[in-house]
C-alpha cells in the first residue's frame, strides 16, 4: 500500500511570513503535537515547525546553560515560563522553521514510511509529490488504522 492511500490530505500549511501570534491561534484547538508544514507560494515544502522550538521562546535562557550541569538537570524548568507579549509580532515562522526536515513521497510504501518514522523517532511526517509540493501528512495512527482495515477489523 502506498503512503498517499493512508495520508491525511486535508492539512493546515503555513507561509514563512506568518506571525507567531497567528500561528498559535491557528493551532490552539490541537490537543496533540501538530506537525506544521511551511510552504512557498507554489506549495513546495520548505520546512517544518516543531512545536518544541516554541518552548525555547518561553524558557529562561539560563535553563539551557544549566542543562549541562548534572545536578541542575530538572524538568521543572520547562514550566518556568517567561511572558514576552511583543514576541507575538516579532517572531514569524521564518524564525522558527526547521529546514533540515524529513519528508516522505506519496508513492513510497507504508512499510518504508514506517521504517523512516521509526528510525527518526517521528510520529508523523509530511508527504510530498515528485515536485516537492506538500500533499498531506502521514501519522503513525494512519498506518495502524490502515493495517486494521486490511485485516477487515474496521
Amino acid at each position: 500500500m502506498k503512503v498517499i492511500e493512508a495520508a491525511k490530505t486535508d492539512i493546515i500549511k503555513v507561509k514563512r511570513s506568518l506571525t507567531l501570534r497567528s500561528l498559535l491561534d491557528m493551532f490552539k484547538d490541537f490537543h496533540t503535537t501538530p506537525l506544521i508544514p511551511v510552504v512557498d507560494a507554489w506549495d513546495h515544502l520548505t520546512g517544518v515547525v516543531y512545536p518544541e522550538s516554541l518552548l525555547d521562546l518561553l524558557r529562561p535562557v539560563q535553563a539551557k546553560l544549566f542543562r549541562n550541569v548534572p545536578f541542575m538537570e530538572m524538568d521543572e524548568d520547562a514550566f518556568d515560563l517567561e511572558s514576552i507579549p511583543s514576541m507575538g509580532e516579532l517572531i514569524i515562522v521564518d524564525d522558527i522553521v526547521d529546514i533540515n526536515f524529513i519528508s516522505i513521497k506519496a508513492e513510497d510504501s507504508l512499510e518504508e514510511a514506517y521504517k523512516i518514522m521509526h528510525f527518526n523517532k517521528k510520529e508523523c511526517l509530511p508527504v510530498v509529490d515528485d515536485q516537492g509540493k506538500i500533499i498531506g501528512i502521514l501519522g503513525i495512527f494512519d498506518i495502524i488504522w490502515r493495517m486494521f482495515k486490511e485485516k477487515e477489523v474496521v
Binding site: 521562546l57 539551557k64 511583543s86 514569524i92
Partner: protein, 151 residues
C-alpha cells in the same frame, strides 16, 4: 547573563549615522564583520533585509531587532546601534526607531537564536533599560546597562 556573552563593546555604535532601516543594518553589519563571524557581509545584509520584508522587526517602543538565520554567519553574532535622531524603520507602531539590535545566526543555531531573541525582547520591554541605553555615553556604558538589567 547571556546577551552580554555575545554583545561586546566593539559591536556597539552609540551614534548611528544612518537615517533609514537599510542604512542602519548595513552600518552595524560592517562593525560585526570585524568579529570574523560574518562569512559573507553582502549575503548577510540581503538575508536580514529579506527577513524584514516578511515582517518588520520594529516592535514598537522605538526598538528594532532585525535578525536572520543565514549561512552567511558562523555561529551567532549580535550588534547594537543607537540613533538619537531616530530611524525610519517601518515599525509596527509607525514611530521612528532609536535602538537597533542586529542579530544573525547559522541556521543550525536555532535553539540559541530563539533564546537570545526571547531574552532580548524581555529586556527591551523594561523602560528603564531602554532609557539606560538612550543615556549611555559610550559602548562601555551600553554593555554595562545590558549586564545590569539582565541580572
Amino acid at each position: 547573563m547571556v546577551v552580554s556573552d555575545y554583545l561586546k563593546e566593539k559591536f556597539c555604535l552609540v551614534d548611528l549615522q544612518a537615517t533609514d532601516k537599510d542604512g542602519s543594518i548595513k552600518e552595524i553589519a560592517e562593525v560585526l564583520v570585524t568579529a570574523g563571524k560574518i562569512i559573507d557581509e553582502k549575503s548577510f545584509i540581503e538575508d536580514v533585509l529579506e527577513r524584514e520584508e516578511l515582517g518588520s522587526t520594529g516592535i514598537g517602543n522605538n526598538v528594532g531587532i532585525p535578525h536572520a538565520r543565514t549561512k552567511a554567519v558562523k555561529g551567532f553574532v549580535i550588534g547594537f546601534g543607537r540613533s538619537k535622531a531616530g530611524i525610519e524603520f517601518k515599525a509596527l507602531d509607525g514611530e521612528k526607531v532609536n535602538l537597533v539590535f542586529l542579530m544573525g545566526a547559522d541556521p543550525s543555531e536555532l535553539n540559541l537564536y530563539l533564546r537570545i531573541l526571547a531574552e532580548l525582547s524581555k529586556l527591551l520591554m523594561n523602560i528603564s533599560f531602554r532609557e539606560a541605553l538612550m543615556a549611555a555615553n559610550s559602548a562601555a556604558e551600553v554593555i554595562a546597562a545590558v549586564k545590569k538589567f539582565e541580572r
